[in-house]
Symmetry: C2
Amino acid sequence: MKKSGITPSRLENFPEWYQQVIKEADLAENSDVRGCMVIKPWGYAIWENMQRILDGMFKKTGHQNAYFPLFIPLRYLESEATHVEGFAKECAIVTHTRLQANDQGKLIPASPLEEPLIVRPTSETIIGESFARWVHSYRDLPILINQWANVVRWEMRTRLFLRTSEFLWQEGHTVHETSAEALEEAEKMLECYREFAENYMAMPVLCGEKTEMERFPGAVKTLCIEAMMQDRKSLQAGTSHFLGQNFAKSSNIQFVGRNGENQYAWTSSWGASTRLIGGLIMTHSDDDGLILPPRLASQHVVILPIIHHEKDKSAVQEYCAQIKAQVEKVYYDDRPVGVHIDGREYLNGGVKKWEWIKKGVPLIIEIGPRDWEKNSVSILRRCTMERYTLSVDEFIQNLGQELTQIQRIMFERAHTFRKQNTQQITSEKEFVEFFEGQGGYAVTFFAGDRMIEEAMKEKFSVTIRCILSNKTDENPLGTCIFTGRLTQQKAVWAKSY
Amino acid sequence: MKKSGITPSRLENFPEWYQQVIKEADLAENSDVRGCMVIKPWGYAIWENMQRILDGMFKKTGHQNAYFPLFIPLRYLESEATHVEGFAKECAIVTHTRLQANDQGKLIPASPLEEPLIVRPTSETIIGESFARWVHSYRDLPILINQWANVVRWEMRTRLFLRTSEFLWQEGHTVHETSAEALEEAEKMLECYREFAENYMAMPVLCGEKTEMERFPGAVKTLCIEAMMQDRKSLQAGTSHFLGQNFAKSSNIQFVGRNGENQYAWTSSWGASTRLIGGLIMTHSDDDGLILPPRLASQHVVILPIIHHEKDKSAVQEYCAQIKAQVEKVYYDDRPVGVHIDGREYLNGGVKKWEWIKKGVPLIIEIGPRDWEKNSVSILRRCTMERYTLSVDEFIQNLGQELTQIQRIMFERAHTFRKQNTQQITSEKEFVEFFEGQGGYAVTFFAGDRMIEEAMKEKFSVTIRCILSNKTDENPLGTCIFTGRLTQQKAVWAKSY
């Protein structure tokens, strides 16, 4: 048996370890189509759970789902200048609508379109076109829409889940009567993402605002959640944009206000994608593979019957089936605990066990003839690799609590890691030392400008991940480490995905 | 108040009535992008319910969801000859991946691809490529996958939900060890579709097999469900294909069999789409608009507070809130009854009521001061437009049963309509008379060939919708009305969407 499930280890080669976890946990694979991935059932089940939970949160906050076209006429994209600049460099363009055989019998594109269509990289412009039709009066507002969809950005350097040419996401798009309401919406949805990341993914995040350099093309404000991965780099895990009247003007979303006058609306948009799965992997997995937080696991318990002699077979199988039936009756997080018996007889127990360890199932239980005789179960708790034995009754009674405990352990471990790798930095010298060392999150007072950000990016490949949210007026003043100016503004710097 | 909600009526102009129902029920709209629709929240909520139910059925029958690339390299599509022929005439082709300003500052496509990419019209070929990697031994089989996705077919004549350039669907793709298992799978999933159509959509369907003329390009057998719309035309509402080894050969899906030898696998595929919403509309709606079957409704009850005097306002509002709270506690079809109070004060009661009638909510209840005094509710049952009054207790107690009853009435009404418009035809003369008259389903013995089908299509615009499933050997012999030959085979002919 191998010493650990994944080669190389995190320390040896983090990027390669990441690819191997995905492969060994059977989450996804590259396809022949440049940068497009295949999400395999074990990976897609995580996405389905993410969808179910986020969708419930969106509906609870008054949003409705709808669906808009995959294709955007070029002129729509052009209508917001910053926006088109941000997306023109990497997009898939449909130019023809028929295949025709040429003289050599080879199929080539035919029937060219008069106006090329862009496969949506994001839908502000195409949804804005509908909103302009839907909104007439202040009484029609707010409009609170979400869409689950695929989007395409023709990325040059791709990595499974983190950066792919096609990815799955949700994009919220809302229209409001006032600037304050649109901003409040953007903040409310960021809080939704925070809650989801921390309470469901067990992934601690920082909330803040992007600087102009990292802002969404066309936005007035881009809010974000940022999570620290185990290589101390930061992952932007969700963004929420206050768009001001920029897109309302380019899409002509106007309404008659309370004063009887025509005016432009205020909009927001917010999104989270299959990238979250990449974040989940890099936050929790270890050198033995994936570790799933129970609230996002589709299977919580896998039962492995251990049968060495044919004579024990039926007794052990029956015992496993009984345990399964009992586990299914336990509720955790408002749904029945997911349980599976791996009955494949052509594989030996060790091989099967390692498969499930690498797939990150929270609890793996092995059942042999001795367990049956003693009415007990041998349990492997994946997140700590601890082994323990309980009577069946204790196991069943304790199961919900054990899953809650695992969820907590995972959050706390990630939280501790972030804390250990976050440093308050008070001088430029310290800043340089930090990033010439092993790095992490450097928190500094910052009153500088884009030129400083660009210089730091060039020198150390670090950027401001966010300006921390400043919810009170009591934030202390401090000295910007670059300009020496006094400021309340705190920036978090890090390398990032 | 208008006499009916929709103009024109079904009898006056069925196609235009259909468009108006969609508009007035606020289900969907055309976009600026040729043939692509916007599915609005009220329409998308129906799709979400369809997804939830079908997805549950697929999982119960052992299928898992996954996700495959949107783009198909041209060479994949070409690998199955019939298949590419079937889809080459109408597809969206991506040829470039960047926008660049030309001399006049106009953005034009740049960075041409070496090999064009086809936006998937269906995914047999791209999923086959993954299956070829996943399958090694008979022990890996069956592979039972489903995908929820958007697909694109560049249709020339489009109609909301029924035929759009982009549509949403699910596509099942499975791989099996033997021909018999793949065929059994195709039949099992057809039965899934039948159950969904009849028990959830309240839409009776015929099950059968397509003739070669109407078969899916590349399939060996195409099974289908067909439903009669209120204009007596038939709608193909779901298809399930036995693909033989055709796609296994073109995608090279091979495995080592029990005999130790390499062999090609057997595959199936099956799909149902947002077209089902078109079927739902044309099966059940009337001249007052949409009628939703309770099992697919997101809102089952809408409460309209009727307030003529300010002094009654708070009492009526409180009473409505109490009723809503009670309704929410009622379970129907394993979920809480959906209820909404339409509290918009700037619209009068009649306008609001007609909005909900046109949107097809099963039960609309109006609550005025008199209802409050008498502790009663005035109910409008949308599917029959009957009005009745009950005490609140009776209403709540009866609610689940009433929704079950509505679901049954809707199915029976559609079933009776189909029966009345289906005729057993025993001669060519009768056949001609039937289709020169008002038409419907003509059931005939049929032992003819494609030439006869093409002639009938030319003369009467009718096709064989399906050869009825023949499950027993006791089916009687009869005479083909075109060839005079004896046969057991019964064909259903109709005009179709």
